[in-house]
Amino acid sequence: MTRKQKRLTLIGLAGLVLATAVALVLFALDDKITFFTSPSDLAQGTVKPGMRLRLGGLVEEGSVKRENATVHFRVTDGANAVAVTYTGILPDLFREGQGTVAEGKVGTDGVFVADSVLAKHDEKYMPKEVADALKQSGHWQEEAAKATPKTN
């Protein structure tokens, strides 16, 4: 092989790897990302069933019902509420009236089937998406806002 051919082989291989990486990333960005929604977004019906979503809001007071290892609860942003079911162990800080993020899909019956539920890491922390959504819907309380910064 000549000097030039060697160079070209290297550059060709590099280009190929780069193209593969770009293709993979573009395809995955199109298909594998999860959108964040609020109960109000869901109520507007703009979301098609079967799409992976992160649903954020507060756990509605008095809505948590347990049935063996399955939990039913409602997530609310004050204006609207969505029924959620989840089978598994809830995080330590999952509480009625507190912020939560459920990840999963909306079933055909409108019930959100979560495969993971996140709560805050300690009593002062609220997921940022939830805080923003609550601010938007006007249910943000200043007391909570002051407590957010320190999360440790």
Binding site: R3, I33, T34, F36, T87, D132, N152
Partner: protein, 661 residues
């Protein structure tokens, strides 16, 4: 008083860093040996003052001096001593102080071990190192002062976040920072080389031990963090593709690429410009990691604070150093002499292949981590990029790299013979195929890709062992093999262990992913559940009182074929001060590497929710990382690194035995 001394010492360290950042580089430019000689003693002095500062903060934590805001926020008089100490860096201000302390430590070590470096290079390296230090001293002093006092001292502190009260978390941040900050040395060497406009194979030999050391610590730090998440969070996962995890993975990937490209530079004087760029990128990614974690743009267990001023400050540091060094690179890279050429099928070619895939994988992680931030900043849209994205991008980019990995070390420099390599690896290949078929047969009906994963693990680990076996002529006379084994450079053993570790890691990842068993159920005392080959009986639920928490404990007896093999006590703790519950998992190890994993949920209707996992071969994940890190450490003891670099000479480097990596 001690606290004020600590604060003052930090200011003095900043003053020395300012001196160190100007005079030595001025000396280099003016060719003034006296100015250059300033660098070493000042680097030691800087470290000395930072050490005093760090010790002062530690004292405040140990003595529970709640008049210091930092101690009040993060400590409690009843906290066990180990967490009083680890609490020093279990918060934003303290962890940044640890960051600058480690930076100064590395600077002092370069000053110590760099005695035989060329004077100009040493002065330039320490000067650049001090630029980074000045930026971070200013950050700590101006936005994150750990020594701030509270006017009316409270009687009791707020306690450390309970999930951080764990031995794993006591050592995870220091290890990670030793890794992150360690790459600053490679960065300083790269920028110094660009300033001087001169670079050769000897440069690579000086940089390599520092990169290797940083890489070893980063590997251990990431593995430690992963194991901590596994047993402490109670979710049973070991890697979540969380942005903060990605923030540590990116410098690791770039650092791994740097380790390999610097071999080419050292041995063959090639890939110089690329190696310089990688050194800059690796530390830039470390800075990016610090920014992501410390600025509060991410919400996670690591996001200590969301003070916008801090975020902007770190972003400024990031832009200054990344932008500045890349501009310098663009201006000067063309002036660096290019090295020798090589055939695509050669050791160099294999290492280039390694670099291509590692950097491509790193770029994929980079995009997946930053895209949500970018989207939110530009359109306000909120998305999350999770495991599915990374499995689809990172996974396929790793497979070719792993497939080629055992072949690389067999190839000769300059021009390799693929046929000869194929002959040597034929047996390993056949064993890997047989292993794949056997696994498929034994686990019919299971995940389809898993047997291939086991085959890949065999290919990697046996391939690494085969390389050493051939080099020491294991199957010739024992005395010959022994002599050759002793004579083999330690770097060759290190490379073998590094690659073997990857093989072990793959075994663990594949087995845990494909054949884990998960049960989530509500159990009442007296009930028994069968998981994998075990019968677990919940005998009782009891309450205990700990030093700073109360706990509910479930007592499980584990039986295998009727014989009691383990007692497990998962618990739910409630920390009194923060009124915060945590899950304490209970884990028993079987067959050496497989684990039975119990996490407790909430009590309900006379029973308790339990999550029970059987995780086959899961320990191999972290054992693999440990073996990789040991490989790095063994390589670090190699003679040519230990005794320091000789004067660069083409004849000398050509005469060296064809030592691998």
């Amino acid at each position: 008083m001690i606290v004020e001394v600590g604060h003052y010492a930090l200011v003095l360290a900043l003053a020395l860093a300012l001196v160190q950042s100007v005079l030595p580089i001025w000396g280099v430019k003016a060719a003034d040996a006296r100015l250059m000689a300033v660098a070493r003693p000042v680097a030691w002095g800087q470290f000395g003052f930072v050490a005093i500062s760090f010790a002062a903060l530690t004292w405040a934590h140990v003595a529970s001096d709640f008049s210091v805001a930092n101690v009040f926020e993060n400590s409690h008089s009843q906290k066990p001593m180990i967490y009083k100490i680890s609490g020093v860096w279990g918060n934003h201000e303290g962890s940044m102080l640890l960051w600058v302390s480690i930076l100064a430590l590395f600077g002092a070590m370069v000053a110590w071990f760099g005695r035989n470096l060329p004077k100009t290079l040493l002065a330039a390296v320490l000067g650049v190192q001090a630029w980074v230090a000045v930026a971070f001293y200013l950050f700590v002093l101006l936005t994150s002062n750990p020594f701030a006092r509270i006017l009316r001292a409270p009687m009791e502190g707020r306690d450390l976040n309970p999930i951080l009260q764990d031995p794993g978390l006591a050592i995870h941040p220091p290890l990670l920072y030793l890794g992150y900050v360690g790459f600053s040395i490679a960065f300083s060497f790269a920028v110094a080389a660009l300033i001087e406009g001169r670079i050769d194979a000897a440069w690579a030999r000086w940089v390599r031990p520092w990169t290797l050391a940083a890489w070893v610590f980063l590997t251990l730090g990431i593995a430690m963090g992963s194991y901590w998440a596994y047993y402490e969070l109670g979710w049973g996962g070991w890697w979540f593709w969380d942005p903060v995890e990605n923030a540590s993975l990116m410098p690791w990937l770039a650092g791994t690429a740097l380790l390999h490209s610097s071999i080419v530079m050292e041995k063959r004087d090639a890939l110089k410009v690329w190696t310089i760029l990688l050194a800059i990128l690796t530390f830039s990614l470390s800075l990016l990691g610090t920014f992501l974690v410390r600025s509060g743009v991410l919400t996670s267990v690591h996001a200590f604070a969301t003070d916008p001023a801090r975020g902007v400050f770190i972003l400024g540091i990031l832009v200054l150093f990344v932008g500045g060094s890349l501009t310098l690179f663009a201006a000067r890279a063309g002036a660096l002499t290019k090295g020798g050429l090589f055939a695509p099928i050669s050791r160099e070619g294999a290492l280039v292949f390694n670099n291509l895939f590692l950097t491509a994988a790193c770029a994929a992680v980079f995009i997946g981590t930053l895209y949500p931030l970018l989207l939110e900043a530009t359109t306000g849209g909120k998305i999350s990029v999770g495991a599915p994205f990374f499995e689809m991008t990172f996974g396929p980019l790793m497979v070719p790299l792993l497939l080629v990995m055992p072949i690389g070390p067999f190839l000769a420099w300059k021009r390799g013979d693929l046929l000869a390599v194929a002959q040597r690896l034929a047996v390993v290949f056949v064993v890997a195929i047989l292993g794949t078929i056997a696994t498929w047969w034994a686990t019919r009906g299971g995940p389809i890709l898993a047997p291939f994963g086991i085959g890949l693990g065999l290919w990697l680990s046996l391939g690494a062992l085969a390389e050493i076996a051939f080099r020491i002529k294991l199957f010739s006379e024992p005395s010959v093999a022994f002599r050759r084994a002793v004579g083999l450079p330690r770097s060759a053993w290190g490379a073998m262990l590094g690659h073997l570790g990857v093989g072990l890691l793959i075994f663990g990842v594949v087995a845990e992913g494909a054949w884990k068993v998960e049960h989530v159920l509500v159990m009442k005392p007296g009930e028994t559940v069968q998981v994998a080959r075990f019968d677990l009986t919940l005998t009782e639920e009891k309450t205990i009182v700990g030093p700073n928490y109360d706990a509910t404990v479930a007592h499980f007896v584990v039986r295998e074929k009727g014989r009691e093999v383990a007692v497990l006590e998962p618990a739910k703790r409630n920390y009194r001060t923060r009124k915060m519950p945590t899950t304490e998992t209970a884990i028993a190890t079987f067959d050496g590497f497989s684990q039975l994993y119990l996490a407790m949920g909430e009590s309900q209707g006379g029973g308790v929710a339990m999550r029970i996992y059987w995780k086959p071969m899961v320990l191999l994940i972290w054992l693999g990382c440990l073996v990789m890190a040991i490989g790095g450490a063994v390589s670090l003891t190699d003679r040519r690194l230990r005794i320091g670099a000789p004067k660069p000479s083409r004849v000398a480097s050509a005469a060296l035995p064809a030592a691998a990596e």
